[in-house]
Symmetry: C2
Subunit: 250 residues, 2 copies
């Protein structure tokens, strides 16, 4: 068990850097905070590089940390590396999901095109997990999935469901080769979602909060769906719309 007492330790600086996407991309790692997320990481297949704990924190008795590399730190250090206002005194450095071989086994997918709001992206991952979706594919132009606000909004689902960053044009091509039915979401040239029935294999594309799904992607789909608006609101929140469609299609 390692112990770090100085806030000037280079390791502390390194952890802090993980609040930037650049450093997360470079290292292929990300930081999670708090008991809930760390517990989900421990219970999942996630690779945990380091478990970081304030010395005075007691681990729950049912946690198995035998094979974990634990680093004890001071409260001051935890505060320094934490992104939350009141740290629970526990954090972990995890490896980003990177198993692309899985792809062939997925039959229900959520594809995300340029979703900007961390809360929306995290909630969509949580919703996809709940709906029993096999994987979430994140296209270019979305907020980074390893952003701390996204991670918190997933409520742990980041560790329950494979999250793969990929080019959506290529992804749609591959899915169609596998005869997975690809649904876009759009207000134009689209059918009411209630007119399609549930599918044993499908991919649903949800798009940017303001602009929707990229029209070039919509050209490639098998069918585009819309959710009718019966009142006066202009649109639904993208995570709410994803929930309605995923629970309908599955």
């Amino acid at each position: 068990m390692k112990r770090i007492e100085s806030i000037k330790n280079p390791q502390v600086k390194q952890w802090k850097k993980l609040h930037t996407k650049k450093e997360r991309d470079k290292t292929g790692t990300f930081m999670i905070e708090g008991f809930h997320l760390v517990e989900d990481a421990l219970k999942s297949n996630a690779v945990i590089r380091e478990l970081i704990m304030v010395e005075t924190v007691d681990l729950p008795a049912n946690w198995n940390v035998d094979n974990q590399s634990i680093v004890l730190v001071t409260e001051e250090i935890m505060k320094e590396i934490s992104d939350t206002e009141t740290s629970q005194g526990i954090a972990a450095i995890c490896e980003q999901y990177n198993d692309r071989k899985d792809l062939t086994s997925f039959s229900k997918l959520l594809l995300i095109d340029a979703v900007q709001d961390p809360g929306n992206l995290g909630t969509m991952i949580r919703t996809a997990d709940a709906a029993g979706i096999d994987a979430v594919i994140i296209g270019e132009g979305s907020v980074d999935v390893y952003n701390s606000k996204v991670l918190r909004s997933t409520q742990g689902s980041i560790f329950h469901i494979p999250i793969i960053k990929a080019n959506l044009f290529q992804m749609i091509g591959k899915l169609k080769e596998k005869n997975v039915k690809v649904f876009g979401t759009s207000l134009k040239n689209a059918v009411d979602f209630k007119e399609v029935s549930s599918e044993s294999s499908f991919a649903l594309i949800m798009g940017n909060e303001g602009n929707g799904v990229n029209p070039d992607l919509l050209e490639l789909t098998d069918q585009n769906l819309y959710i009718p608006i019966y009142g006066e609101s202009e649109s639904l929140n993208v995570a709410v719309a994803a929930g309605i469609l995923l629970y309908h299609l599955r």
Copy 2:
């Protein structure tokens, strides 16, 4: 047209107080900010007490403000009364919705029990509007619906759909007298939502993020529904769940 130039003007102090629930309750008014919300207020039946504008702001040509009481202010004053980081230079003081007579005409309602997160409450109001629900009833213990974060999350739906603060126990009693079918949401003693069919008149109760709907309310319902979790997530976000159920029931 009134003009206020001093930040010490008592009116400025009064507007600023509207950021507290206490003052909103006392005056029966609330403040909205930005072009989108003010436009929705102007187009709706909302009673606007004052339209507050920075002198240099141009109103869109299609806005009808002939009968509005306009107050011109300095940028400094707008910044002082604004709750956003970058004000658009326009705000309005509106009266809270208070027409209880309507109640008898509602056949599709969303009842909200102790929802705490402003984003969740606002998104649920937006979703209820989209789903063509007649009114949203807010029980005790929920975040104040006239909180600025709730208002922003409604994306204008606060002006499209009646929002009524009421005691949910009494409300359920009244609805049952009118033969409106009342659905609770619960993980225990509940049926899969897909087993119930759409209803011409119904009330759906959504509950607190952590604890769900008050068990005493669940005792009073006609039926309690749950949304199955097919993956490993513990639950759905409450606004996502509301969307799935409202679009299923309507």
